[in-house]
Amino acid sequence: MHTVFLFPGQGSQRHDMFQPYQGTKHFELIKQLVEDELQEDVNQYTADFSSTRHVQLALLIVGVSSSKQLVDAGIRPDCVAGHSAGAYSAAVLSEVLTLKDAIRLVDLRGRLMEQAFPSGYGMIAVQGLDLNVVVQVINAHQDDVYLANENAQQQVVLSGSNTSLRAIRHTLKEKGARRVIPLSVTVPSHSPLFTKEADQLRNAMKNITIRAPKLPYVSNQTARLLRNKEAIVEDLAGNIASTVKWHTSMKMLTERGIMNFIQLPPGSIYSDLLEGAFEGIQALSVEALSVDYILQLVQKE
């Protein structure tokens, strides 16, 4: 096992993210499919990011088009990992979900998240404080604050009500956090506040045909490599209600001998996080490097 594809989640979106793929084979196919299924113009997704549904659908479109383009160019992953909403793109590439089902599920996921918490909730990023110390602070805290993402050993995201997040901010600073940054997100993703919505997604997934993965899939919830289709579907449905164990997943992949971590667009935050975090790996951003160059680097291994 040498190569993994990393699919970004929310936070990586950019208004021009479709631009490099306009007119390419996979993008146009997916665009058509989305427009047929949902009866709407995909360009509104990248125009208006105030809707999480828009953002998630845009990420699916770019994640799937860009990864299929890489595969066509001869860059084949040995496994796939998607961060939060990015997991749906990963599931499409591993062929657990059809693209059509993924579109419907991401659309539903977006709707459920928008309906659930109209206001008063959010997320904060905490930098420069060890993950274990943050967990201690959360456990000692009375209010509803949850560990949403462990992105790196010293970079995590918390979810909760704005009041609780304001209250915990002070303690985190006191314990030595370098920065505590409110994110422009209006929902408490990856927390038990989404248990009901996770159940609704589970129900929706009962009615679709799922297939055995062609590529092993990295679980958001458990940081395990999954080869079983039921476990993958459970991860897709349940991940909005539990912590994304991204850092542990990356560590697990390095221990399995993965050397090439290829981040798909948009952005480069996941490949940036890996730089310096692990020895002896290549963290490559598709957005920053040409496909030919990536192919060269991957074949060198």
Binding site: L129, N132, Q153
Partner: protein, 468 residues
């Protein structure tokens, strides 16, 4: 299996080929092994000290089949294992003499071996590998990354422990803290006029950072657990210091070196990720089960020791007529890990990990009762002098800095502990803090280590990439 270090080792369990594991070290697979234990894909017998595991190979874990690697075999099946002999003879002996089957992967089959490390009559099957077995530089620490705090702590250790007790023989692990000590011997150590008085005999891997001390005449002998990539030619040129065969290459032996490090040296020094308030320490933290390497063997007092040295006798209980010394077990670490994580914790994660993984005993690396000294950037705590658990905790707190434990220590307590000689600060030890900077390192880069070695040290590629 003493060291779980390759993905394939755990794949055996994932594929259901194996299900029970007794081991010592799993650093390179620490996350995955923790996951697999939690998922019950692996049943752990025990996490052993090395010598304990090697011992059990002859008692109740006798191998039926052993799979080992060697550099070369001859037509008769004799093996050359060279610098990387490590525990191979122990495993092969336990297998071959109790009806087991010994299967060896070799890099090469040759007419004549440089020397015989394992005789043919102990070997059943030889397989010629299609590529050489993997060998990585594990003990090389680039001096470039040594910080000024580490240099200050190294000064505290040299002055407050090594010099104070005239430490003659010792083990160093692989951390940057101890690399800093090694690189301060020819500079700071020399300025204290300590050459020939401390650090003469070592049970240690051939760390490249030892080169300046060797070249400056500090070191009489080094016996090693294993080899180190890039050090081959340098070692061949220094048979006066290293254990080298008549063929000119080093012979390592992990079993014997661990035993030497346990029984025959004055001092063990190491670092930890967590220490509780009475001095128990562990590198096992939640979600990561790394095992311990050599620390638990060498980091404890072997109570059967008889031979005496000044350092050993310094640890004796002055009220005991049966004069018995103790091994010096030194823990050396900064009070905070990166990300402001305090090293000092009320309870070790190891206790929760043992519960989750259903282990009989928590994986403690070094037990508090064995720790004689603690060195942090705040000073040295002479824990062997404390005579109650409460005083021990006070002494640890006094050097615990701005951690929850450290903040319990009052200025009055600290003053009393200093007067009793239970703790010592840089002032007490007359250390000039201003001198604690990188210019004090005998070598500040890998390149300078190469120069010290007269170009005999040949660093692996990954340490060369910085060169211009």
């Amino acid at each position: 299996m003493s060291s779980v270090s390759r993905p394939e080792h755990l794949d055996l369990f994932e594929k259901g080929i194996a299900d029970r594991l007794d081991f010592s070290f799993s650093g390179p697979q620490s996350t995955r092994i923790a996951q697999m234990i939690e998922d019950e894909e692996i049943k752990v017998g025990n996490i052993h000290t090395y010598i304990e595991l090697y011992g059990r190979l002859f008692i109740d874990l006798i191998p039926n089949v052993a799979l080992v690697a060697a550099d070369q075999a001859d037509a008769n099946g004799n093996l050359y294992t060279g610098a990387n002999t490590e525990e191979t003879p122990t495993i092969v002996e336990a297998t071959a003499f109790k009806n087991g089957i010994v299967i060896v992967q070799v890099n090469q089959i040759v007419e004549e071996l440089p020397r015989v490390d394992i005789p043919a009559s102990w070997v059943d099957v030889i397989v010629l590998g299609d590529e050489p077995y993997q060998l990585e530089a594990l003990f090389t620490r680039d001096p470039k990354h040594i910080t000024e705090i580490q240099i200050l702590m190294a000064m505290l250790a040299i002055r407050g422990v090594y010099e104070k007790h005239s430490v003659q023989s010792l083990n160093h692990g692989i951390g940057f803290n101890t690399a800093a000590i090694e690189l301060l011997l020819p500079t700071y150590g020399e300025s204290l006029n300590l050459r020939g008085k401390i650090c003469k005999h070592w049970a240690a891997n051939p760390h490249p950072t030892l080169i300046p001390a060797i070249e400056s005449g500090w070191i009489d002998s080094i016996h090693s657990f294993g080899g180190e990539k890039g050090m081959e030619q340098y070692i061949a040129a220094r048979p006066d210091v290293f254990f080298v065969g008549s063929d000119g290459t080093m012979r390592s032996n992990r079993t014997l070196c661990q035993m030497a490090g346990q029984y025959a040296v004055d001092l063990f020094i190491g670092s930890t990720l967590q220490m509780d308030y009475v001095g128990n320490s562990s590198t096992v933290v939640r979600g990561r089960l790394a095992g311990f390497g050599g620390a638990p063997n060498m980091g404890h007092d072997p109570k059967g020791r008889r031979h005496s040295t000044k350092a050993w006798l310094d640890m004796k209980n002055p009220d005991d007529d049966l004069i018995r010394g103790r091994k010096l077990v030194v823990q050396m670490m900064e009070t905070h890990q990166p990300g402001n994580r305090p090293v000092f914790v009320e309870q070790l994660d190891a206790i929760a990990v043992a519960n989750e993984a259903k282990l009989d005993t928590p994986p403690v690396m070094i037990y508090g009762e064995d720790v004689t000294h603690l060195v942090t950037e705040e000073g040295v705590a002479y824990l062997y002098k404390s005579d109650s658990p409460a005083e021990r905790k006070e002494a640890i707190a006094a050097v615990a800095g701005v951690t929850e434990l450290g903040l319990t220590s009052t200025p009055r307590q600290k003053q009393r502990l200093r007067e009793q000689g239970i703790i010592a600060t840089t002032d007490d030890l007359e250390i000039d803090v201003k001198k604690a900077n990188r210019s004090l390192l005998a070598a500040k880069s890998i390149e300078e280590l190469v120069m010290w070695s007269d170009s005999l040290y040949d660093p692996p590629e990954k340490f060369r990439s910085y060169w211009t």
